[in-house]
């Protein structure tokens, strides 16, 4: 890991791996790696085959061919990085982004008035990786699962 990159992942992350003392009701980053969305609402668990585990905890496929297909699709394993970001993350950091007009517009606009691309930019160490994590797992998805149906 380059020094610069280390700074990028380190500045707003915690050095502790145990958040159990900090756990608020919305904290989905418990050290025990429970269902990441169950603390938020129950929408996901109503959904039969899908959200018992983090989207990054694959594979759910168990048959041989299924495993081969997954392996064939890609050798990348972002779940490793995802897990370390999750445990290093300080709860609440960057949540302000989710309240911005820009974020909502991106999430909600249907009419093509805006591009469906949101770009969060900043210099190394401002916490880009950690903002995204929060959105990915706790904000966007349950919201859309409820509204989007």
């Amino acid at each position: 890991m380059s020094a610069q990159n280390q700074q990028d992942t380190g500045n707003l992350g915690s050095t502790s791996n145990d958040f159990s003392n900090n756990t608020g009701s919305n904290n989905i980053y418990g050290s025990h790696n429970k269902n990441i969305l169950s603390g938020n609402n129950n929408t996901w668990s109503n959904n039969e085959n899908s959200f018992n585990n983090s989207i990054f905890n694959f594979p759910a496929e168990t048959d041989d061919e299924g495993l081969q297909v997954l392996q064939w699709l890609s050798p990348l394993e972002p779940q490793k990085r995802h897990h370390s970001v999750g445990t290093d993350r300080l709860d609440g950091v960057g949540n302000w982004v989710l309240e911005t007009e820009e974020f909502r517009k991106w999430r909600d606009a249907e009419d093509g008035s805006v591009e469906h691309v949101l770009f969060c930019y900043g210099n190394p160490g401002v916490g880009k990786t950690y903002v995204r994590y929060e959105e990915l797992e706790s904000k966007i998805a349950p919201m859309w699962l409820t509204i989007g149906k």
């Binding site: 707003l12 064939w72 900043g122 995204r132």
Partner: protein, 179 residues
């Protein structure tokens, strides 16, 4: 049948630059979708075909993009999140952005979330002219809670006294706001 919402995501990293080809990135999105909702029949078929005809080799980028296009049809929303876009090679980045554009063209329910350093801003805006952009910097509250957490987890708490603590809590946020 109700359509689902799905989130896929990946992290770019300087250290995995070669492995992180655009093809592999799209492959991992498909892998995440398949692990979550089951492997679509068209993907299984493509695998069998590749096994027979290509000796099991992976698909080219266009093959992956086409499979993703098919897969998104069964979703009401797909969120694609890619962290640290500046860390992949310029070529992979260009391919990635162009392929994402292709997905967005056929799938109005797809949302793309990107993070990166400011120097790639031009590239993003060139490709997605109406991109919504948010400049990030930690808020005062973010900084304070981070500092508190770090001070509280000090392995040698005896080395700290109230005076030093309050000086740290004052000086560091001050320095950050000056930059």
């Amino acid at each position: 049948m109700e359509k689902e919402v799905a989130v896929v995501g990946l992290y770019c990293d300087f250290h995995g630059r070669e492995e992180q080809s655009t093809t592999n990135m799209f492959g991992v999105m498909l892998k995440q979708l398949a692990s979550r909702g089951g492997i679509p029949e068209h993907t299984r078929e493509a695998f069998k075909k590749a096994k027979k005809e290509l000796g099991g080799r992976g698909l080219q980028l266009q093959g992956m993009v086409d499979m993703l296009k098919k897969t998104v049809k069964s979703l009401s929303r797909l969120f694609i999140c890619i962290d640290a876009l500046d860390e992949c090679t310029p070529k992979h980045r260009r391919d990635l952005v162009q392929s994402l554009r292709e997905i967005l063209r056929v799938s109005p329910g797809t949302r793309v979330f990107l993070t990166g350093r400011p120097h790639i801003d031009d590239e993003i805006v060139t490709c997605f002219s109406k991109t919504i952009r948010i400049p990030l910097s930690p808020t005062h509250g973010d900084i304070m809670s981070y500092l508190e957490m770090r001070l509280d987890s000090d392995t040698d708490p005896k080395a700290m006294d109230e005076e030093l603590r309050s000086e740290i809590m004052k000086t560091i946020p001050q320095k950050i706001s000056e930059t």
